[in-house]
């Protein structure tokens, strides 16, 4: 285990009011993994990151780095580097001097330093910019310098604090692929904070979804999206429809739910510990609702309220008999007709895409 957070808790007190920023965070991170802390602003993800870095001292709990307790070590005595949201480049130093900053503090000899610097500028693609100052660089280049400056220290753990939020959309997409490539190339354990779910999905080995200081779910991007353990995670990641109902029967991981308003049956997969008679929510992603039956065993009846044609897909809104509204998406609309507003329609979905969780 590269990094272990043991029951970390952080309480801020201001004017006598206590706010729990991080509540019982417990997670181990393996060597070479990239773990993303994902959640809305104020969920405690940045505080957790700053506790790992050593900028905040946890109220309770321990931080272990390479089997060593570092809870009370100041940031400079932990072997951890950080890439900041604002890049935080030293404005009075050149690119080269920025990257060499930590190495000089380590009193590395000249030849070794030169070699490392060359490797690093190659790796992050900064060749030819060594003599520039930060204010002469574009946002993406500054980001690369920040990354190089941290990587060159060969830290045990590399931290990213929303590193892409200051870049424009196009650059953000290419930079996140770049970060992932470099991270895997040097196989460095990383903790990455973001509120952008697409970013989290695209670069993470593990995603930790947080809300109000609590960990809501830990899992691979696929798990987080396809097998959310609670309605917060289901709602926060991607778009979702919830259908409320009561459990009829449980058979292994298959659950039969009767929809509260219509009494219709839905057969789905068990997403959390539930038993017969319990109130549940069925999680339905818009793209899992199809207008073709094929081998899909569940059906929803409704009326088309409106639709939006987006070229590659059509999004539409359906009103169920009880007045509840459901979103659905159909891809490649060219090979089928567009929906007609006001028309009664049947939508089908499979057992696998009906994910049943506690209400």
């Amino acid at each position: 285990m590269s990094l272990i957070l043991k029951n970390v808790r952080k309480v801020f007190t201001s004017y006598g009011v206590e706010t729990v920023a991080v509540d019982d965070f417990d997670q181990s991170i393996e060597k070479g993994q990239l773990v993303t802390l994902l959640g809305p602003s104020g969920c405690g993800k940045t505080t957790t990151l700053r506790i790992i870095a050593g900028f905040e001292i946890p109220t309770n709990g321990r931080v272990l780095l390479d089997e060593k307790d570092v809870t009370n070590l100041p940031p400079n005595r932990r072997n951890i580097s950080m890439v900041f949201q604002s890049y935080a480049l030293f404005p009075h130093l050149t690119v080269e001097e920025n990257i060499a900053f930590g190495l000089k503090l380590k009193r590395l000899d000249r030849t070794q330093m030169k070699r490392k610097m060359r490797e690093m500028t190659d790796l992050v693609g900064l060749k030819g910019l060594e003599k520039r100052r930060p204010d002469q660089l574009s946002g993406g280049q500054q980001q690369r310098v920040a990354l190089a400056r941290s990587l060159v220290m060969e830290p045990s753990v590399l931290l990213f604090d929303e590193p892409l939020s200051n870049l424009d959309a196009k650059l953000r997409e290419s930079m996140r692929l770049e970060i992932r490539r470099i991270q895997q190339e040097v196989n460095i354990t990383s903790v990455y904070v973001t509120h952008d779910q697409v970013e989290a999905m695209s670069i993470s080995d593990i995603i930790v979804v947080m809300n109000e200081g609590k960990v809501m779910q830990i899992g691979s991007p696929f798990d987080i999206y396809a097998r959310p353990q609670n309605s917060f995670v289901a709602d926060f990641i991607g778009r979702v429809n919830f259908v409320e109902g009561v459990v009829d029967s449980v058979d292994g991981d298959t659950v039969t739910v009767s929809v509260r308003s219509t009494g219709e049956r839905i057969i789905g997969k068990k997403g959390s510990e539930i038993s017969t008679g319990e109130e549940v929510k069925v999680v339905l992603r818009p793209e899992s609702l199809s207008d073709r039956r094929e081998d899909r065993i569940n059906t929803l009846n409704g009326k088309v309220l409106k639709f939006v044609f987006l070229g590659s897909n059509v999004e539409y809104e359906l009103e169920l008999p009880d007045g509840k509204r459901i979103n659905a998406v159909t891809f490649n609309p060219i090979e089928r007709k567009l929906p007609v507003v006001g028309k009664d329609t049947e939508l089908y979905f499979s057992r696998e895409s009906a994910w049943v969780i506690k209400a």
């Binding site: 808790r9 001292i57 109220t59 009370n72 940031p75 941290s150």
Partner: protein, 564 residues
């Protein structure tokens, strides 16, 4: 709350793991306690105990039963109040004219409005006597009036307004300059005329700046020693001078201390109001959008009225200083106006030791003061430690404590073991260091607040400890604040008088004390020559520093040099 205890424990452990930081904080606290709090405490305790060391209020009753002393208290407050009001008015006039009209000679007005800051404050008084006094160039020379009432309230206030209005200008220039002209556009657009736009928008928005300025001027005027010593005269006693005379003339330290306590109270009250009440009420209208608007705040006649008023004040200010220069080169002011270099010969003959001493003291105290100011600013903005607010208050306190009080405090506090410093270089240097740190701290704090803390955090994660972060990252980033602290501390050290006059000795003397004693014995031309030399040295220092800065640190943009 068990977990809270654990966090405190963790935090303390963290501090212990960084003994350098802990030691630094403790050292600074100790220094502030010894060199700021302890002397003030000594003034109180001296005024409250008699020779036998018993509690005794007689020093106060004595001071208060004396009508003359009581008058001193009223006079001090009166002058301070008037100087605050008129100084603010002149400062506002300049700041408004420069920011809100398109008058010619704006750069000239700006220069004149900050110039007096680099001059010794009591030069104004000297010059006013030379212009309006018994042998005054204007009163006697032009109008033949010999008994113009220059000594007393109006003369003193005039001198103080000239030397303190730059403080008002700098603050109000910042305030009015940042009020977006689009707000006036909006007011016009909503049907206001120019006068209404000024009265309902600009004026209310500058009220916090006005209040803050007046309080600062009030403190400066109360603390002023040189001007009243020259100008107040025996019919118009003021506290700072009376406290000094009580001690040096009557050898009554207790009485002097009691007067000092009376001087201290209004200053501290004004300081607390300024810092904790007015200081918080600031309007910020920085929007990030470019605010280019044609200046149309005043109409044509008003523009020229404002211009004339500024020009009048500027000419008056320049006349004050020109008089000093002229005076330095004439045989005997008002009686024999032939040009000569004799005065300078005299200065280098009699004053060479004072010149050398002044330079040694200034060059020793200035860098210490500036570095200490930056360190304290760094701790205040970037570190969390118990007693942080106390450190802030104490370190800024020395701004509010009149020099007279501090001077008396120093002679009381450091005349016996373990702090036997009387008559040494150290007592002067220490006094200057701790009296002039507030400006360094304030400019350091202001600049640090604009520096992204992540830049320093990045240095920590790259392995830098507190000392390395400060020297390799923070200090280079706040270099402009450092240099403005350096200039300010140097100017103040060169021109200091109110506290220093208690601390000089045969071994260590100052040019400023020479100027006062020369003018006291009627050798005005010699006093002028000393002043010119002093000004030349200050200008020289600023000039050299500017050249040095141009080559060294151009990256941090224009530093706010010379504006205190």
């Amino acid at each position: 709350m068990a977990f809270k205890g654990e966090e405190t424990k963790n935090r303390l452990l963290n501090l212990l793991k960084d003994p350098f930081l802990l030691l630094l904080i403790l050292l600074i606290f100790a220094a502030l306690a010894i060199f700021i709090i302890f002397p003030i405490f000594k003034v109180f305790s001296a005024s409250l105990t008699n020779r036998q060391g018993e509690f005794d209020l007689s020093a106060y009753s004595r001071a208060f039963s004396n009508r003359y002393m009581r008058q001193g208290f009223y006079n001090s407050l009166l002058v301070a109040g008037l100087t605050a009001f008129f100084g603010m008015l002149v400062g506002y006039l300049f700041a408004y004219t420069v920011n809100r009209t398109d008058v010619p000679f704006k750069r000239f007005f700006k220069t004149v409005a900050v110039l007096p800051i680099v001059f010794p404050p009591f030069i104004g008084a000297l010059s006013i006597i030379m212009l309006f006094g018994f042998n005054g160039l204007i009163t006697a020379g032009i109008f033949g009036i010999r008994n113009f009432p220059v000594y007393g309230l109006w003369g003193l206030m005039m001198a103080q307004v000239v030397c303190f209005f730059p403080v008002a200008f700098i603050t109000l220039d910042g305030v009015i300059g940042t009020i977006s002209p689009t707000l006036e556009d909006a007011a016009f657009n909503l049907g206001a005329n120019r006068w209404q736009a000024f009265r309902k928008v600009i004026l209310p928005m500058s009220v916090p700046g006005i209040a803050s300025t007046m309080l600062v001027l009030f403190i400066e005027s109360l603390a002023d020693f040189g001007n009243p010593l020259i100008l107040a005269g025996s019919k118009f006693p003021v506290l700072s001078v009376q406290a000094y005379l009580q001690i040096t003339g009557m050898y009554d330290t207790r009485g002097g201390a009691a007067l000092a306590v009376w001087l201290l109270f209004p200053s501290i009250v004004a300081f607390i109001i300024q810092k904790y009440w007015v200081g918080k009420k600031k309007y910020v209208t920085v929007t990030g959008k470019p605010t280019t608007s044609v200046l149309k705040s005043v109409n044509k006649p008003m523009k020229w009225i404002l211009f004339s008023l500024c020009m009048l004040m500027a000419v008056f200010t320049l006349t004050i200083y020109a008089t000093i220069f002229w005076g330095a080169f004439v045989k005997a002011w008002g009686m024999n106006n032939t040009l000569t270099l004799d005065n300078f010969r005299y200065v280098f003959d009699v004053g060479s030791k004072a010149i050398r001493d002044t330079l040694i003291i200034a060059f020793t105290s200035t860098p210490i003061s500036a570095v200490l100011g930056m360190i304290i600013a760094f701790l205040l903005v970037r570190k969390v430690f118990p007693g942080r607010r106390l450190m802030e208050f104490t370190s800024l306190l020395s701004f509010a404590v009149p020099g007279t009080v501090i001077g008396i405090g120093y002679i009381l506090a450091f005349n016996s073991r373990p702090f036997l410093l009387t008559g040494t270089l150290a007592i002067l240097v220490l006094n200057f260091v701790f009296r002039y740190i507030p400006v360094g701290i304030q400019s350091g704090v202001a600049l640090l607040n604009q520096v992204d803390p992540a830049i320093e955090e990045a240095a920590y994660t790259l392995g830098a400890d507190n000392r390395q972060v400060f020297t390799k990252v923070t200090l280079p980033l706040i270099i402009p604040a450092f240099f403005s602290a350096l200039v300010f501390a140097f100017v103040r050290a060169m021109t200091a008088i109110s506290a220093a006059i208690f601390l000089v000795s045969a071994r260590w003397n100052l040019i400023t004390v020479q100027i006062l004693s020369q003018s006291d014995s009627g050798r005005l031309s010699e006093a002028c020559a000393f002043s010119v030399l002093l000004i030349a040295m200050i200008m020289g220092f600023i000039f050299v520093l500017k050249i040095f800065l141009k080559n060294k640190v151009s990256l941090s943009g224009g530093s706010s040099m010379g504006q205190g």
